[in-house]
């Protein structure tokens, strides 16, 4: 019999086990590859830095997440592949022993089962690559249909080859060991259950003697199958760590970053400006979620100036709770170097350099500002004409210790008092007092006005009144509701975070399959005993109780470890200033509970399937 013939037949004979092994491999390869491809597509992640979308602050958080999750997804993949091949080979060790007992030479035994492993690894890894590419294509199409201009990146053959190669090698290396180990043991040992199920003979843990019979049998079997039990608990722990970080971290980061954006843009805010200026302003905000090329635009053009009469009208309208006039310009800015003194050495140490850049410079009236940015440092004070607040991208691109430095705008020096997360111009922005900017540039007045409408007001009616009045004063002026832009920003953020949250679903499904494999191994080991129990009066439900008890204990052990470490990692490492509300906690708890329940229900399948078998079938 040829090696390939035997191997293919053996794999086909064990359809369910083969299916589980291949599917687990497929999902591990697919989740890792998709994560890398997705990272490239959204312009952040493991291999690439932020590319013209998302501010530096957001990218830093996303990068952290993608890197952490990328490492975990890969680790989960390795552990799952290791467990899958361990189970696959454990189910064959007895056969290997029998073949050896019948006189089959070691090298032939090794060849038969190694061929099976190679076939499984090739199919699993290839299917994983195919699945990842399909999901990547689907996700790109979905992004496009949602209106996010994500450029089609060229197909990265090297990435595909790398992921395929790594997982293929891992499967072969980890799978070859149990085959080699078994090929070396004496046949008598290989056909002994205590060897092929990795069982120690005596239960290592004392179980309370008055506990129920099903619990007693379940627990003792669990501790006897120590090797497999430790592996599945380890596998589930890492999977739940990944799930927790992705779900809890994703939900917290989503909520936190949404709140930053909402605070920076403001809700119920309406923009009033000349139509070209309004389009330009919206374009500057859109840079957060799509690639927008900078074009020549004369911000200082006098036709964009907002007339005094418009501001007066807006200020007098009772339904309007705030009027925020701004002068938006595009100007050259320069870093101002600072010095610190080292008291120990008496040395003066320079901080920063003399870097130059072009930034959006926005003049604001501090007391009238409608936004409530998340600020590192503090906001500009009303009576301070030489204070500036800069956006996170400008800070990270051009300053070493921004809050200890200053910024030069058109030859005028400002102290940097705060850093803000701001989506406008993708965080490349400098806020200075409006009056100072007007004096510096000679531009007569603001070129945009933001107004906030009272939540109790009839919004459509108020907007239509503003439109009528503003166009009566200047027909080229328009009224734009910024909530639409805000929704697009939040939609993009939501898409990014939900994609990250959904990624571990692959790993969770793969882990569920591993648990099914473990339960199948457990049933195979106890098959004869379950038959005896049923022959002596146990109902099929009793067997389901024993098996489900075992899978619940390993699941709970993995869940507890994974969730505990996951929450600590999420709160301490990943999100700065996390926004955690009662609703967030309930949402996270609900998702994690759903993951636990779903995994447990899936793990019941082999037990339910086994319970439907006739008693005679089990006893044979």
């Amino acid at each position: 019999m040829s090696e390939a013939f035997f191997s293919v037949n053996d794999l086909l004979r064990r359809k369910l086990q083969t299916g589980i092994a291949i599917t687990s491999l497929t999902l591990c390869v697919a989740s890792t590859l998709f994560l890398l491809l997705f990272g490239e597509r959204v312009g952040t992640g493991v291999f690439t830095a932020a590319q013209n979308r998302l501010t530096a602050g957001f990218s830093a958080i996303l990068d952290n997440f993608m890197l952490f999750i990328g490492v975990l997804v890969f680790l989960v993949g390795v552990v799952i592949v290791s467990f899958t091949v361990f189970v696959m080979m454990s189910q064959r060790i007895r056969d290997i022993g029998l073949m050896k007992a019948a006189g089959c030479p070691n090298d032939l035994v090794f060849g038969y089962f190694m061929t099976e492993l190679v076939i499984t690894a090739i199919i699993g890894c290839s299917a994983g690559v195919a699945l990842a590419l399909v999901i990547d294509f689907g996700s790109a199409s979905l992004l496009s249909s949602l209106g996010f201009a994500i450029p089609q990146t060229p197909f990265n053959y090297w990435l595909v080859l790398l992921v395929f190669g790594v997982f293929f090698a891992i499967a072969l290396v980890l799978g070859a060991k149990p085959i080699l180990d078994t090929a070396r043991v004496e046949p008598a040992k290989a056909i002994s259950p205590s060897y092929y199920f990795g069982m120690s003979k005596e239960p290592g843990v004392k179980v309370f003697s008055k506990s129920g019979l099903t619990f007693k049998i379940a627990m003792r079997s669990l501790f006897r199958r120590r090797s497999a039990t430790i592996r599945i608990v380890l596998c589930l722990s890492i999977v739940f760590l990944l799930v927790t970080i992705s779900v809890a971290g994703g939900i917290i980061a989503d909520g936190t970053t949404r709140s930053w954006i909402e605070r920076a843009v403001g809700k119920n805010v309406v923009l009033i400006a000349q139509q070209d200026m309004a389009a330009q302003y919206v374009g500057l905000l859109s840079k957060f979620y799509k690639t927008v090329q900078d074009s020549a635009f004369d911000y200082a053009n006098v036709q964009y100036a907002v007339a005094e009469s418009i501001i007066n009208y807006l200020s007098s309208k009772p339904e309007i709770t705030g009027v925020d006039p701004r002068l938006v310009l595009r100007m050259s800015v320069a870093e101002i170097r600072n010095f610190t003194f080292n008291p120990d050495t008496g040395e003066t140490i320079p901080v920063g350099d003399d870097r130059k850049s072009v930034s959006l410079v926005v003049g604001i009236a501090p007391s009238q500002v409608l936004n409530n940015w998340l600020v590192d440092g503090r906001f500009i004070q009303d009576n301070q004409s030489r204070e500036a607040m800069i956006g996170d991208s400008l800070a990270s691109a051009m300053f070493s210790v921004p809050l200890s430095q200053g910024i030069r705008v058109a030859g005028n020096d400002f102290s940097i008092v705060g850093l803000c997360f701001d989506p406008i111009n993708n965080g490349n922005v400098t806020y200075v007092p409006l009056e100072t900017l007007q004096n510096m540039t000679g531009v007569g007045g603001p070129n945009v006005v933001l107004v906030k409408i009272a939540p109790s007001a009839d919004r459509p009616q108020v907007i239509s009144q503003i439109k009528a009045e503003v166009t009566a004063i200047n027909p080229t002026f328009v009224v734009v509701e910024l909530d639409d832009v805000l929704d697009s920003m939040l939609g993009f953020l939501g898409y990014v975070w939900s994609s990250i949250i959904l990624l571990p679903l692959f790993s969770l499904v793969a882990a569920s399959l591993c648990l099914i494999g473990y339960v199948m191994l457990s049933i195979a080991e106890q098959r004869q005993e379950f038959g005896v129990l049923r022959a002596l009066g146990a109902k099929p439900g009793t067997i389901v109780k024993i098996v489900s008890g075992q899978s619940f204990v390993v699941l709970l052990a993995g869940y507890t470890v994974g969730v505990a470490f996951g929450i600590i990692a999420t709160l301490l490492i990943l999100v700065p200033n996390p926004l955690v509300t009662n609703y967030t906690v309930v949402q996270i708890a609900a998702w994690l509970l759903i993951a636990l329940i779903a995994t447990f229900i899936v793990s019941l399948y082999p037990a339910l399937r086994f319970s439907k078998r006739s008693l005679r079938e089990i006893m044979i």
Binding site: K201, E202, P203, L213, K216, I217, R220, S221, R224, Q528, E529, G531, V532, L533, R534, A535, L536, G537, A538, K539, P540, T542, S614, L615, R616, M619
Partner: protein, 225 residues
């Protein structure tokens, strides 16, 4: 009253396209308190017949009444309860639960029958004494010899004091001396007027039998045939 009535019973297994007739037109009546021995070569259908009488397997057609209950029409819940309370089964290969001690192996059928704890302890001591294994109560099956495991299997089968005991070649895996203890145990059960059906090749057990049934290729035959 008859304990077991088997009428026109057939059992056919299908292995792929091949049909194997394991039992053909079996008719048996075994009275209450009777000791019946089923003899025959390997593959003659002894175990299949015992399995059907014990509610482990179902016939392809025919009728099987045990203490008046037609097992062919009963569902799995009834059969589970029937096997727990009405039948004690002793397997050739002992089939003890490896994760339970001797005492636990003997008591678990009583737990399923919801017997009170005091009763379970009293009955356990009685059974350990019957099979002479008081000193092995806390040992696991792998710590017992073959003969001891078979005696535990007998004690387990008798735990709920079932009116019918089925034993499938109980001495088949034992040496002559150890097998003798099992024969003595069966003699004791016969004296207690239990209905016992044993599938066996063992001459010593055949001598105990009130009724001897010979099976050959799934059919009942008379010894001179």
């Amino acid at each position: 009253m008859e304990a077991v009535v088997v009428s026109n019973l057939n059992k056919t297994y299908e292995v792929g396209d091949v049909k194997v007739d394991a039992l053909k037109s079996i008719n048996i009546k075994i009275g209450e308190g009777e000791f019946a021995a089923i003899c025959g070569p390997s593959g003659s259908g002894k175990t299949t017949l015992l399995n059907i009488i014990g509610g482990i397997d179902k016939p392809s057609d025919g009728k099987i009444l045990v203490f008046g209950d037609d097992l062919t029409v009963k569902d799995e819940d009834f059969l589970a309860s029937f096997r727990c309370n009405k039948v004690g089964f002793v397997f050739q290969s002992y089939n003890l639960v490896s994760t339970l001690t001797t005492a636990e192996n003997i008591t678990f059928p009583m737990e399923w029958a919801h017997k009170p704890e005091e009763y379970v302890i009293k009955r356990l001591n009685e059974l350990l004494e019957t099979v002479d294994l008081q000193h092995r109560a806390d040992h696991f099956p792998f710590q017992l010899s073959g003969g001891e495991q078979q005696r535990v299997a007998f004690a387990r089968a008798l735990a709920n004091n079932p009116p019918l005991l089925l034993a499938d070649e109980p001495t088949g895996n034992l040496d002559t001396k150890t097998g003798q203890k099992i024969v003595q145990l069966l003699q004791k059960l016969k004296d207690e007027k239990k209905t016992v059906i044993v599938a066996t090749h063992d001459e010593r057990m055949m001598e105990l039998a009130d009724q001897k049934l010979y099976l050959e290729d799934g059919e009942l035959v008379t010894p001179d045939e």
